[in-house]
Symmetry: C2
């Protein structure tokens, strides 16, 4: 028995890395509870891939609109065992275009759940949520109420409620992973308010100067792409009965200060690299970041054996190893 | 300056009573912050009224489908100052018909918010929520996370998130009232699992025998229709800045045991009335009721001056005075 898996947003940063991992070896537990090979992996996305998709005969690329129910229904067919739902308008985008954010993040998400329900076989749905569901607390834990302060956060909180309800009704076997800020994001800088947290490590290692917009004592709750991919596999594989009616798992991260992140960069790569970071305080970015939680105490994720990175050093080391071919510009 | 007010579900139990109250005297604060007369009151509902609507030239009855966006847009026009949104598929109905529940309670609610947004004048939207947003806690307070265990509860929790987000964006001036179980509901028994809490008081006072399905030590968190109507006026009138970004107000109730409710009935109406209640334990009803919170500690509602009933006796007295013309069958 082999599995069919669909990844929406499958050519994006996390989707693509999860795809590579899934293709590498049988790790996803199938309906029988044992790790099974994937013989069909559909990577769905809104546009042509920027990074090359995995070159593997099991992979099928599908381009389309998640807001079109017929497209989603064709995508998640009666053979589908699991869906990883990454497709989303990100934070800044959902704030800039209210209607687009609700169309993709709320209505599109409902189409995914409806298509899965209509298969009649209760497939696994792994939904991606974010710390943006919180609203201003310094520390959060598994029982913190969701009081989002952005449209993106509201849409993710709504998605979590829908995943729980569709699961309770037996329509899908859903689970949600609530992610910290991903650091180091590979690739080019983007306009997300959290983008600087990756840039201040990524750009100097590639010989470029970069601005740090926030104070050195600001803390960020961060997780590497590698640990995030592992967490998605873990949350897919956990027995639904262990999760119970609330299918949301808040993933832990580490909480270095910006100063500690820059010190780790200096220790790893030397002064020349670390000196490429220039302080350029930005009150707007600071105010946005100040509303995010610094500390997450996810007892549930810990109990499930889901591990954050050990240190900023480990995060930098895996970025250099996995994304820069082991070399940086000293 | 006079106001136009729309009540969806306006011919239902609470909608009708709120309408009567609003027509009686100027109490709703208008855009200037002062109580103003209402010169147009639109009562919208899905079907013809069961109880007669208020006989008043300011009242306009509109029958239609809240799932039709054009209907809702015509309803909430550019003259509308405030919308009380009661229209909903109730708990048992939303559980029995999943699609209907989401269509009316989620999509219909979004149409109300969208229509209000399109007026461009940021009208007040008062949204009705329920203790069904909670999931199994014995006690709840303003910071308890929403973990609903029914589709109705999920739809109400989603509505609260939408009201907050539309308000944050400046599209509407929203506020949500989260209600305890309403006791004594006037009229005939219905099939809601909470219905017995009204029946065990209402039926004996009208000469009818009734079964009590739960143990005498079971507690219910209850609020009279009169206090609920007052709470809707209060939550409409509070300044949005006082509420801040989280527009949900959990209303307090009192938490008598069923034994205390029956004792109060006996003290008020005598043995002959109280003896019309027969114990008939029902394990299903007991298990549903056991999942509801017994105690609510709503510091926020208290601070806003919103008062629950003083006692079961007060609840019985107002039911007899307001709904039975001051007389009961002894």
């Amino acid at each position: 028995m082999a599995m069919k898996v669909v990844i929406t947003g499958g050519t994006g940063m996390l989707g693509r890395r999860l795809a590579i991992r899934i293709l590498a070896r049988p790790e996803l537990r199938g309906p029988g509870g044992n790790p099974e090979a994937v013989d069909k992996l559909v990577l769905f996305d809104a546009s042509e891939p920027v990074e090359p998709p995995p070159d593997d005969p099991r992979v099928q690329l599908v381009t389309g609109d998640i807001c079109d129910p017929a497209t989603v229904e064709a995508l998640i067919d009666g053979e589908t065992d699991a869906v990883f739902h990454f497709a989303a308008v990100v934070s800044g985008g959902a704030e800039a275009d209210f209607d687009l954010g609700y169309a993709v993040n709320l209505t599109g998400g409902r189409f995914v759940l409806e298509a899965a329900r209509r298969t009649g076989r209760c497939p696994k749905i792994v939904f991606t949520s974010s710390l943006a569901v919180y609203g201003g607390e310094r520390s959060v834990d598994d029982s913190t109420a969701l009081t989002p302060r952005t449209s993106y956060g509201a849409q993710k909180a709504i998605g979590e409620l829908l995943v729980n309800d569709y699961t309770r009704k037996g329509f899908v076997d859903g689970r949600t992973l609530r992610l910290p800020t991903i650091v180091v994001r590979p690739g080019k800088p983007n306009k997300a308010a959290s983008g600087f947290a990756s840039s201040i490590l990524r750009e100097p290692l590639q010989g470029e100067t970069v601005s740090n917009p926030v104070s050195r004592d600001t803390r960020m709750l961060i997780l590497s792409p590698k640990r995030a991919v592992q967490a998605f596999i873990d949350v897919h594989n956990v027995d639904g009965d262990v999760l119970g009616p609330n299918r949301s798992v808040m993933m832990n991260g580490i909480s270095p200060s910006i100063g500690e992140m820059l010190d780790a960069l200096r220790a790893f790569a030397g002064d020349a690299v670390a000196d490429r970071v220039h302080e350029a305080p930005d009150a707007l970015v600071q105010s946005i970041v100040d509303a995010w939680p610094w500390y997450a105490d996810g007892a549930r994720a810990r109990k499930l054996g889901m591990k954050p990175d050990a240190s900023v050093q480990e995060i930098i080391e895996s970025f250099v190893a996995d994304e820069l071919g082991g070399k940086f510009v000293s």
